[in-house]
């Protein structure tokens, strides 16, 4: 089967071809999943979010403007969907914590921050995932797009609808916050 240029697939999808859209899904599903996974922090939510992203894209593909980049448009949907999800989850978390406090529950548990015996890369990745999850939404979106998805500042700026300079500053800020949070782990190599 011939490789169909993405513009043709997009045009066919705009005309209602589900086959063309399915091909676009196959092209982008891994990257979209990677993005929403980094934003959500777990596979269960990432799965739901990735499905939602593609459903939203299908519903609104008629509004996609030809000439612009499909993946930028798709990533924008993914970022917005993720941010909406994070806000909702944050509200639910606040509500749950409030209820737990009212009930006198001991909320003092939580993850250990001890770095003892955890120098392996997998351990570091786990901690980084947790730390990324703690970043504010827009910093997290910038960090995930650039570091995890490999987008340039210019590409991330198009997705996020801001300037390259803004992305640059957000990346710097995100790194500083992550460094502070991960100091016990990142500090291992410090002299």
């Amino acid at each position: 089967m011939d490789e169909c240029p993405e513009d043709d697939l997009v045009e066919d999808a705009r005309r209602g071809s589900r086959e063309a859209f399915a091909e676009l899904v196959r092209h982008h599903e891994r990257r979209v999943y990677g993005l929403v996974f980094r934003m959500a922090g777990n596979h269960s939510d990432a799965d739901d979010l990735a499905q939602e992203v593609f459903l939203t894209a299908w519903r609104s593909i008629a509004s996609f403007r030809r000439g612009s980049s499909f993946y930028t448009w798709l990533y924008r949907i993914a970022v917005n969907t993720s941010l909406t999800f994070l806000r909702k989850r944050s509200r639910e978390k606040d509500r749950t914590e409030f209820n737990e406090n009212l009930a006198g529950a001991d909320a003092a548990g939580g993850a250990s921050t001890s770095p003892e015996g955890s120098s392996a890369l997998n351990e570091l990745k786990g901690r980084v995932d947790e730390a990324i999850e703690s970043l504010p939404g827009h910093l997290r979106a910038s960090f995930v797009l650039v570091v995890s998805q490999g987008l340039s500042h210019a590409e991330a700026a198009r997705v996020l609808g801001c300037s390259e300079n803004t992305v640059s500053w957000r990346m710097h800020k995100a790194r500083k916050l992550l460094q502070v949070r991960l100091k016990p782990y990142l500090g291992e190599v410090w002299s």
Partner: protein, 201 residues
Amino acid sequence: MRCETMKKWLSDGFDGALAPAKKARLEAHLRGCLDCRADRAGLARLQSGAAPAADRSPEYWTGFEERLGSKLAGIELGRRTVCVPFSARRRWVWAAAGFLAIAAAGTYFAVSRAAGTVETSWIPYEDSLAPLLQEAEANPEFGSLVNREILASIEELTPVMEKDLAGPPADDPLFWEGLSEDELRYIASELERETGRGGPK
């Protein structure tokens, strides 16, 4: 202050967004700054820890596409419904049904009239009276009979008509109580005009 700027440049450098001139200045700074070198090492570890998430199994993606496909099919069904709004469709259905009903009725009357089978439930008075009056003119006896019948019919109707036209009874106190001042003045003026006598002032 200078280190803070260099740390910002470090961040840009990790993203491949640092201009060559700045890159050279950064490297020169790093050679002489222990703190910024440690920062660079920490950022490098952060970068490696933030690598893309491990890919999922091929089975997962097959299932993902199948689930998405079934959802998209549902949306497409919805789309078709939405493409032709229900109200608009209903208008067309009613319009078509109305047109068919009119066409059917028209065809029925056209065929019936052509076949002479149309039965009218009304009496064609003009057609039935014309020969009657012609005969009454020709035959005086029959004419007087018709005349009597007509007068009797008029008499039958007259009391009812008079009763209807008589108006409300003047001796009914409720009638007078229900009248307004203007109406009373009007009646008084009419009585005065008809009888030449003044009514109540």
